[in-house]
Amino acid sequence: MIIALLSDIHGNFGALNACLKHASESGAGRYAFLGDLVGYGAEPREVIETVAGYAAGGAVAVKGNHDEAVAKTPSYMNEAVRAVADWTRETLSGDAKSFLASLPLCVREEDMCFVHASAAAPERWEYIDSPSAAQRSIDAAGAAYTFSGHVHEQELYFEGARDRITVFQPTRGSAVPVRRHRRWLALVGSVGQPRDRNPAAAYALFDSERSEITFHRVPYDHLAAARKIRQAGLPASIAYRVENGI
């Protein structure tokens, strides 16, 4: 079974569609949405509608901090992000908001754990930005595979020699063997707001039978996505980030 791992869509419907099309053409049979469906982008309604459709069909969907912020804007978010959260709250229907509120923080299935940030304390939205942070999440997940987002980068943490956690920068499009007897934590990158100066959408495909993960970048019309952000009256700084992938 090939599972598409999509995270940090951030209301970017064009990027989501491009990844879904790429995944389906690559033989994906299941989908997992790793949180932050909204925030930043101008099409949260369309994104939620699509993800809710997949979830009804059995897809995994977990909650991200931006999804939580729709119910109550937390104090740590900066002005632009708060503005988007407020706008999103007004834009979304009651159904959409209750879909976001209903999302679990973490889903465990067989030897896989799906969580937006860290499995160690999902509600604290800790960033996996070091081997020790990855170690905590892997230990708490208790699974061979932990799939996460939140950090808008594609990285693969793994248990190497002497059980030490090491980080690996994947080559896009190149299948990486991830054998089950080791523990792995994949940061799948951001569909809707990549930050590595490459505006192309990021996601990953996990092939559970072959025990392989492949990280992908999918180009889409990011200029149109930025235009929609401006047209919606959202902060220009956010449109600029989508345009430049920063």
Binding site: L156, F158, G160, A161, R162, T171, V176, P177, R179, R180
Partner: protein, 467 residues
Amino acid sequence: MDDSIAVGTEIDGFRLEERIHTGAMGHIFRVTGPDAGFPMIMKVPRLGSGESGESLISFETETMILPVLSGPHVPRFVAAGDLTKTPYLVTEWIEGESLERALARGSLATAEVARIGSAIADALHSLHVGDTIHLDLKPDNVILKPTGEVALVDFGLAYHAHFPDLLAEEERFAAGSAPYISPEQVLGTRSDPRSDIFSLGAVLYEMATGELPFGVPATMAGMRDRLWRDPVPPRVRSPGVPPWLQEIILRCLEPRAEDRYQSAALVAFDLRNPDQVGLTARAEKSGQAGFLEHVRRWWRSRHERAAPRRTPNAQVAVTPVIMVAIDTTHPEDERQPALQRATAQALSLSPDFRLICVSVIPGGPGGGATSEAASPSGIYLDHLVRLRHWVEPLRLPARRLSLHVVEAASPEKTLLEFARRNNVDLIMVGAPHPAQQALAWWRSVASGVTANAHCSVHVVRVPGRAA
């Protein structure tokens, strides 16, 4: 697990026929089974009680990397068993003698050192282009094939840029074989293809002198010595070693990776073209550095740290080999300046290139004479002078440049063969000229080379002159 493995056992359809090797890492059997069209062997790691997990990590590394490698320089992958249940690896059995066995009969003649050395360098280059580093090059892992090529075996310590490095944190074990490993490997760096070039230097040294450049150090401190100590020059140990070979060996063995050859293709080239080797003080060195110099280097080595990260392929890409085909029979042709300009532009893109200038002049059937002495006619020198004149305005240092006049009946075939043999990355060739329709061979050269080259071809046209 060890006990259950015996000749006659069948594992996943493969029948163990004969145990051909038992080492620290496990056993190797000849096997028969589903017909792959070539003889096969099976590696089975040691898993008995008391065995550490290290041999398994190296085994896992090999089963990960081998399936993505291809070509005549590596054994073909056939099958691998589930690591947690029945770990095994079935690959092609490569016919031939190991270099280790060949060396047991003593050191080799210079021509043999150059021939085998360049074949090993070719094999390393094809690995590096494929983003792989062997990291355990030693005579035991080099198989001399009857074709004259070599194959490299045992990828248990290898590194592939597309895969997580399972051995990254394993300083003690991942170090490789003490007599051959590079200084940076001693320090724990596993991502620099120039490490293989250092090991190649140690293998060349051994082939030429019958001795190891750094002995067989048994301790970490002994291994660190190579960060600052230089080996006894090969010519001191073996006076028959020519200066050009000493130059090549000592350049491979430079402690700092940036002072070595920057790609294995360049080593192969020099080994095949002894008269083109740019000799430096290394060639005539007759002793090791003095006490003060050693102290200086030792002090510097204490601060030596890991090299910058760059994938093997990217490392090779900064040292391109560019071949330009120059028609010295028509020195006044208006395309010559255009070809010169294009060559200068191509060279300006990389600080560390090698330029090969080739002129193919009409010659006897089959042709192929490349040296003055072997030339059947006296025109060789004349064309060499014209080549030198052509390249002179580019003002290139001698060590970046080599000139070749080849007499041959088919320029196209000769150029293609020359490019392939020298691992050329880019061929520059003039486009056919509209006014030269009569010179059919020239037209066929540009189009034939473009169609059949193993690498990129830059066809240079005079602006505004359509073919």
